[in-house]
């Protein structure tokens, strides 16, 4: 029995780790701006395409850092161009802007690639096959959860121990007061987007090594699922997002194991609605109430 379930668990842990890296970006941005950054999934996709094109012209040891830098630059630009001008606008406007950016990025990628699927380059070592007990898989499957935990631990340390981390916590607690206290809101927000995009870039390398085809809309689904993971764990909470992502990754693969593949995506949303109704603040979220 376990032999049959094990490969699913393995796939679940691996995809969960990749969702986690995206989910952290969502949860940090939401924590600070109260914005669902719909474009985050597309930044993840863009990282995939950067790699496809860049690795065609230069060796991987140059391509990997360059891809990371470009992805971070993209995330940074999106924030500056599409979200910063709307900082005082109603929340609905900025969310619409996020949807607009997502639409733009998808169409841009469609245009550049001609709408055709691109083959992701083979990254050495992590693309190799290995056999674990009853399952054969790629090395990346094992690497992903480990790397995810290392990166997220580093991030939590950054937020707990450094000055910029303290500023981030302050801004997410109370935007206006933090601003009055002389915290440079814009640089804090930019840092948030930079960290989020960096993790998305790493996530995309792991994800596309596993699933080697890149299409313009491929990031939409993992993006939404990562967001659900963030809500599930309690939006604004980084450990919450990671736990949520692993739960969703594993649950989704178990659903497939049971043969309800039609519902593997729908399940994620059902879980989201359930958690919103039962515990709207998620597993690790904090309660806030509106002042009258």
């Amino acid at each position: 029995m376990f032999d049959k379930i094990f490969p699913y668990l393995l796939a679940g842990v691996s995809v969960g780790g990749q969702y986690a890296l995206i989910a952290v970006g969502y949860t940090m941005v939401y924590g600070i701006l109260r914005l669902i950054n719909f474009a985050h999934g597309d930044i993840f996709t863009a990282a995939g395409f950067f790699m496809v094109y860049i690795s065609a012209t230069m060796p991987l040891y140059l391509a990997i850092p360059l891809v990371t830098v470009l992805t971070v630059a993209l995330g940074f630009t999106v924030e500056r161009v599409a979200y910063k001008p709307l900082r005082t606008a109603p929340r609905m406007s900025i969310m619409i802007s996020a949807i607009g950016v997502s639409y733009l990025l998808q169409n841009l990628m469609w245009y550049i690639t001609g709408g055709l699927a691109k083959q992701y380059p083979v990254l050495p070592w992590i693309s190799d096959s290995i056999t674990l007990g009853s399952a054969s898989t790629k090395v990346v499957t094992i690497v992903t959860p480990i790397l995810t935990i290392v990166l997220v631990t580093a991030l939590v340390m950054l937020i707990q121990r450094t000055k910029i981390g303290m500023a981030m916590r302050a801004v997410s607690k109370d935007f206006e007061t933090a601003e009055l206290m002389g915290i440079k809101i814009n640089s804090v927000i930019s840092t948030t987007f930079i960290i989020g995009s960096f993790l998305a870039a790493v996530g995309s390398m792991l994800y596309f090594t596993n699933y080697t085809t890149v299409t313009p809309t491929i990031g939409a689904m993992p993006g939404l699922k990562a967001f659900v993971a963030a809500v599930f764990g309690g939006i604004g909470s980084i450990p919450g997002a990671v736990v949520g992502a692993f739960i969703i990754g594993i649950a989704e693969n178990l659903i497939r194991a049971m043969g309800y593949t039609t519902f593997s995506d729908a399940f994620t949303f059902a879980l989201l609605i359930l958690i919103l109704l039962v515990k709207p603040t998620g597993l690790f979220g904090e309660k806030t109430s509106e002042k009258v």
């Binding site: 109260r34 914005l35 669902i36 161009v81 599409a82 001008p85 709307l86 606008a89 929340r91 609905m92 406007s93 969310m95 619409i96 802007s97 949807i99 607009g100 950016v101 997502s102 639409y103 733009l104 169409n107 841009l108 469609w110 245009y111 550049i112 001609g114 709408g115 939409a220 939404l224 967001f227 659900v228 809500v231 039609t262 519902f263 995506d265 729908a266 994620t268 949303f269 059902a270 989201l272 609605i273 919103l276 109704l277 709207p280 509106e290 009258v292």
Partner: protein, 355 residues
């Protein structure tokens, strides 16, 4: 101007619009792009207005529109496919489980009703959620509905994930215009009724509205159900327009498109949504099509033009509207006699202010 006169003038304007459509249909060939734009634009106008009722007038950020359209479209198609054609349509499900055909009008009304029923069920839990949580929950519900419709065990009814076709469609451009006009007319009447005022109060300030005795949940649910009813009708009309129907097309991207139409037209403006729908459809189906084809001026190939460029230009324009013209074409104003006369007064001096 007195209220009655205004209504009459507005009705006359509407009648002129219908006359114009009729003349266009008579004079241009049936395959002209103009006809296509008019048909699809009218249907999108209805859908956009129904979404505006929620997002613009009631202040509920719902992203479930595509889901309700899907329900409406499927209800219509499933119930109106001729019995004789069912064997061919449900090729994998031995002709399906339904062995009757309803008249198209009943089909359309049921499309709205079933969508409204779904909205009532879904609204019960999700309308208690606030702003972006509501958005993501409704988006999720739309995805769940799509998964259910594609579920192969429901194949005898929905044909699983496969195409539905051969249900009754329309030929005349006047049909979608008339249907959209009636539905939008009802929505306008609702918006200007005491219930519509309550919706706007909720949008402006939930806490004050509640303190004024407006039952938030009931009114939100009302707006949600009514909006979904018309989204369902819109879905049925869209199915009729397309001639074939597949659940796969009703994705989140479709909701986003409609949302962008509403934003371009102006949140809280019915006529804005209508104008924006026609503009949006005209650009995407017709005026900007040339951007997708390689063009030559002499032997010089115009750079950048190839498949997909249209959508890039289009999304850039949308971003410009979202960022710099946040109130859209109309803001929350209306393009009617009153709106025009107010605008004229503002534009052309204060002399007529008392008129």
């Amino acid at each position: 101007m007195k209220k009655n006169t205004k209504t009459i003038v507005n009705l006359v304007l509407l009648a002129l619009l219908f006359l114009a459509v009729w003349v266009i249909e008579r004079t241009s060939s049936a395959s002209s792009m103009l006809i296509t734009v008019l048909k699809k634009g009218a249907i999108y106008a209805l859908i956009a207005v129904s979404m505006n009722l929620l997002n613009g007038f009631t202040g509920l950020f719902s992203l479930g529109q595509a889901g309700f359209m899907l329900v409406g479209a499927y209800t219509y198609a499933v119930l109106t496919i001729p019995v004789a054609k069912r064997v061919a349509v449900y090729q994998m499900y031995a002709g399906g489980a339904i062995h009757f055909q309803l008249p198209w009008l009943v089909g359309i009304l049921l499309a709205g009703a079933v969508a409204a029923l779904f909205a009532a069920l879904i609204g019960y839990p999700v309308l208690r959620l606030k702003s972006d949580y509501l958005a993501i929950a409704t988006l999720g519900f739309a995805e769940i509905i799509r998964a259910i419709i594609q579920y192969e065990k429901l194949g005898p009814i929905t044909n699983g994930s496969l195409l539905l076709k051969t249900y009754p469609t329309f030929k005349s451009t006047l049909f979608p215009f008339a249907a959209a006009a009636i539905c939008i007319g009802i929505i306008v009447l609702l918006i200007n009724s005491t219930y519509g005022r309550a919706f706007k109060a909720i949008r402006d300030d939930e806490i004050a509205a509640e303190a004024m005795g407006i039952n938030l949940f009931r009114h939100k649910q009302m707006a949600f159900i009514i909006s979904s009813f018309f989204a369902g009708v819109g879905g049925a009309l869209l199915a009729m327009y397309q001639g074939t129907l597949q659940a796969n097309a009703f994705k989140a991207a479709m909701t986003y498109e409609i949302l962008l139409i509403v934003v371009i037209g102006g949140m809280g403006s019915v006529t804005g949504s209508v104008l924006a729908s026609f503009l949006f459809i005209a650009c995407s189906e017709w005026w900007l099509r040339f951007l997708d084809a390689e063009q030559f001026i002499g032997s010089f190939q115009v750079p950048l033009l190839r498949s997909g460029f249209r959508m890039v230009v289009f999304s850039v324009v949308i971003m410009i509207v979202v960022l710099f013209f946040r109130r859209g074409i109309m803001g929350d104003k209306e393009f009617d006699v009153e709106g025009i006369s107010k605008w004229c007064r503002r534009k052309f001096g204060k002399g007529g202010a008392k008129a």
